[in-house]
């Protein structure tokens, strides 16, 4: 065809190609900025303590039995307790603990073992406030007491996300335990049993709607029904139930995808070999769909981890490790809700970003896990 067309084509090709590259560059840039922002703000705050410590500091009174210890030249060393002290910003904390130190056998007010740890801050020795003292002074104070036992008021510093990590895991387990079986069963019903008709349409319509409802509405609903009407209070169960409903469509549709992947001929073959429906489901369909189901679960975990709006008003924002399913002691913040809370209440973007870093890592792990499962599955299925 003609030459002029030819040039016009080349020009418009180039333009469109340019747009494509531009868009991609933009997307990648955005991603880089977001990740960069999070890492820049968050990385400095991430360390072992951040991961393993409690969120809040915890004050405890302990009784410690002194031991016979040799005096030392180090004025910060307390031989009778086998610890070395250090001071900073008006506070004195334990810097080192000997292996046989009696503080390892410290007892709290209830005569329970409360082992002191490094970094624990000593704010009172017997009835003496240590505020403003130097380490040497406190050491002297302790050594000055002639009683066999000594009472210390100890503050274990917080600033860690341990409770949220654990709460998040609890909520994941609970939610999947509720939504998993229901979702998988639903998918099996829809894909294997349901006959076209009103019931199926209704169910599909319901699922599609569930999928579209914004999490804030789930939050409203969960707060109203589980927290208030069912009197669960802010609790992991209320949160998990809310999330379960929210996750149903995800799990159902991902499982259904996996089930659909199983060719119809497998079912026919199985029936053709005289298998019953249940046998076919158990022996052919579920094993075949297992990786897909696992991926569905991982997707679910991803959403649980990332969810905030539906959890804030159902599971609360308390940084504690829940010890029951309902009631006050079951209230718990996940990493994400805590992060939100942190920004809103304190404007502390740095710590929030540190949590975000942890979340990012978690999400990367989940993504990689789902990839691996899929690949493993493909390899199993493919030529080998």
């Amino acid at each position: 065809m003609e030459k002029s067309n030819w040039n016009k084509r080349k020009w418009s090709d180039g333009f469109l190609k340019g747009l494509i590259y531009l868009s991609t560059a933009l997307t990648v840039a955005i991603l880089a900025v977001i990740i960069g922002f999070i890492l820049y703000k968050g990385i400095p705050g991430v360390n072992l303590n951040f991961l393993v410590r409690n969120w809040d500091s915890r004050t405890t009174f302990v009784n410690v039995n002194k031991q016979a210890g040799e005096a030392s030249t180090n004025p910060k060393y307390v031989p009778s307790l086998g610890i070395t002290l250090e001071d900073e910003d008006d506070t004195v904390y334990i810097k080192e603990i000997e292996s046989n130190s009696p503080v390892r056998k410290a007892l709290n007010m209830k005569e329970q073992l409360y082992e002191l740890k490094k970094s624990d801050i000593i704010t009172k020795v017997d009835s003496e406030n240590t505020k403003g003292m130097k380490a040497e002074e406190v050491a002297a104070l302790i050594m000055g007491s002639s009683d066999a036992a000594i009472r210390l008021k100890v503050i274990r510093p917080g600033g860690g996300i341990m409770p949220m990590l654990i709460s998040t895991i609890y909520i994941i387990i609970l939610t999947l335990a509720i939504a998993g079986p229901i979702g998988i069963s639903s998918a099996i019903y829809l894909n294997e049993y349901a006959k076209p008709g009103r019931v199926l349409r209704l169910i599909r319509f319901a699922i599609q709607n569930l999928a579209g409802i914004p999490s804030i509405i789930y939050g409203l609903f969960g707060m109203l029904v589980f927290v208030q009407i069912a009197k669960m209070q802010y609790s992991i169960l209320a949160g998990a139930l809310t999330l379960s409903i929210m996750l149903l469509p995800t799990i159902i549709s991902a499982t259904e995808e996996a089930l659909k992947e199983i060719p119809k001929v497998y079912r026919e073959s199985s029936f053709g070999l005289g298998a019953t429906k249940l046998q076919t489901i158990r022996k052919i369909i579920l094993p075949g769909a297992l990786p897909g189901i696992l991926v569905a679960m991982i997707l679910g975990i991803g959403r649980i981890v990332g969810e905030s709006a539906a959890l804030i008003w159902t599971a609360g924002t308390v940084a504690q490790i829940p010890i029951s399913l309902v009631g006050g002691e079951a209230s718990a913040a996940t990493l994400t809700t805590k992060m939100y809370w942190l920004i809103k209440e304190t404007g502390d973007l740095s710590t929030a970003s540190s949590i975000a870093v942890v979340l990012l890592i978690l999400i990367i792990v989940l993504n990689v896990a789902s990839k691996l499962i899929t690949r493993l599955f493909l390899r199993k299925k493919g030529t080998n």
Partner: protein, 281 residues
Amino acid sequence: ETNTDVTPTTEPTAEATKAPEATTEPTEAAETDGDLSGTISITGSTSVEKILMDMIDEFTALNPDVNINYTGTGSSAGIADTLAGSNDIGASSRELKDEEKVDGLKQVIFAYDGIAVAVNPANTVTDITLEDLVKIYSGEITNWNQVGGSDANIVVVSREGASGTRGAFEELIKLEDAGGLVEDATVLEGNGNVQQSVAGNANAIGYVSFSFIDETVKALTVGGVEPTAENAKAGTYSLSRPFIFASMEATQTPVAKAFLEFAVSEDGQGFVEDHGGIRVD
């Protein structure tokens, strides 16, 4: 490793690491209260959180068998929970409204809080009169040069509709009479957001609890009066309000009662001061 490493700067726990100055004998307190056990659930105001968390920490240290949960849901919700019986104590950062004062509801004022008018440190304005403040929040004054600042639009930052702080603030400056909050005001959830927002915007004005004033924001003097606890307590600083614990007398547990007592005790009050609050006397 030191504790400052592990505790980021503006976090409640950072405050908590400072040893309380209380001089009461913990030993006695422990011995008298140590046999307490049970759970207390507290919901409500978020403004009281910092004070409350320290009180809880101390109280539970003294009473290891006591478990206290606090969830910051906002004053109104906290009182509503109390009325509905779904918590033990409701925390409020404002006076109870008339409709909330039902029979059997017992309120304990455990602190007063000043509300600081915060602007960006870069702002040249240092003082504001109550009248100007009302005009700014009602939208009558829109430029900083009307109150002695540079020629720049004022960015008005307020709190969400149900905030106790906002309720108290609007009440104290009688915003209602001036026509209510200007429509265009930025509304943010939580003191922290307000603080952040003001810190990030040279032309913003907001209000936060005293405890949120730090180097990132500057508190204006109101009618020439410094926003200090002393001034607030003395009544010369006009923007202050009570912090209240509300509970239903009939269903009150012994632990809850003990906690309420602790809150107004010397020990408890120590934390009030720690966080820029004003002790009740």
